[in-house]
Symmetry: C2
Subunit: 169 residues, 2 copies
């Protein structure tokens, strides 16, 4: 993939992962898929990225086995594959660092264990259950650092409510 | 920073983190700093990146508070700051995903808890102690997926041995 060529000589799993998800916008697309975004149009509006760039990134993510194209009514939608769902700890780690180091008003989003309602800790573990719930068992809601909807997109509106990860927006 | 401008509208801690560490090569520089690489020349040789790109990335990482320039004999060296050390869970998550999805021969590197010698699990926790050791308490060694030293660099040679993270190379 575009960013991968020069990483190829790096015999390291960090480098190999970045070959797949290190490209500009790529991890933000993956994040949006965890939030339940599935349609090209919604991704484009929510990310504010050009059609051409988004299309190229999605093609790579499908080719690399992170996303799958699935039918959705008369259109196509994108879903995380098992390999894509396995990126949840990467997203959690990026969220935690950003909350601590780039969000002076506190976390922008909060995450809780759907099964018991307890807020997850910063490593994605449920302190009540002692487990790290899979994304489909996690709910998210705006946190104290949130500054409300980002523009008029459907996705921004949906993310103002408490919702379960992966539930289609 | 270069990649950040277009992420700025994304009110999300994933996006803010990627503004700091999402640029090409940036997380590989951070990974090398965890491995104990400190000198510009060593980073350049080990990463195979141009002097200009490396210099620009290091300047951003210093400006963003992830690395600090420190004196080292007659030269300067780079060290992870507290904010930089806090990226360890991000590196661990990227390592785990790459080991699972892009390393058919098994993990390229293994990590163990220096205090007790137990191998860390894929989330960076020590199963014996039930804690997630800080990087200075972690040792690394080549794993079954390693294919030996990458070229003749000092860093590649050092990484063939068991060594403690952050110990200067």
């Amino acid at each position: 993939m575009a960013l991968g060529v020069d990483y190829a000589a790096q015999q390291c799993s960090v480098a190999r992962t970045l070959e797949v998800v290190g490209g500009r916008w790529t991890l933000l697309i993956v994040r949006d898929c965890f939030f339940g975004v599935r349609r090209f149009t919604d991704l484009r509006e929510h990310l504010g990225v050009s059609r051409a760039v988004l299309s190229e990134r999605l093609t790579h993510l499908v080719d690399d086995g992170v996303l799958a194209r699935v039918p959705s009514g008369e259109r196509e939608a994108y879903e995380l594959t098992a390999a894509g769902l396995a990126l949840w700890p990467v997203v959690v780690a990026l969220l935690a660092w950003g909350d601590d180091h780039a969000s002076p008003d506190g976390p922008r989003r909060l995450f809780s264990h759907a099964a018991c309602g307890t807020d997850l800790d910063r490593t994605g573990r449920c302190p009540a259950c002692g487990t790290s719930p899979a994304p489909y068992d996690v709910e998210t809601r705006p946190g104290p650092g949130s500054s409300g909807p980002q523009g008029p997109s459907r996705v921004s509106a949906a993310l103002q409510e408490r919702r379960r990860l992966l539930d289609p927006i």
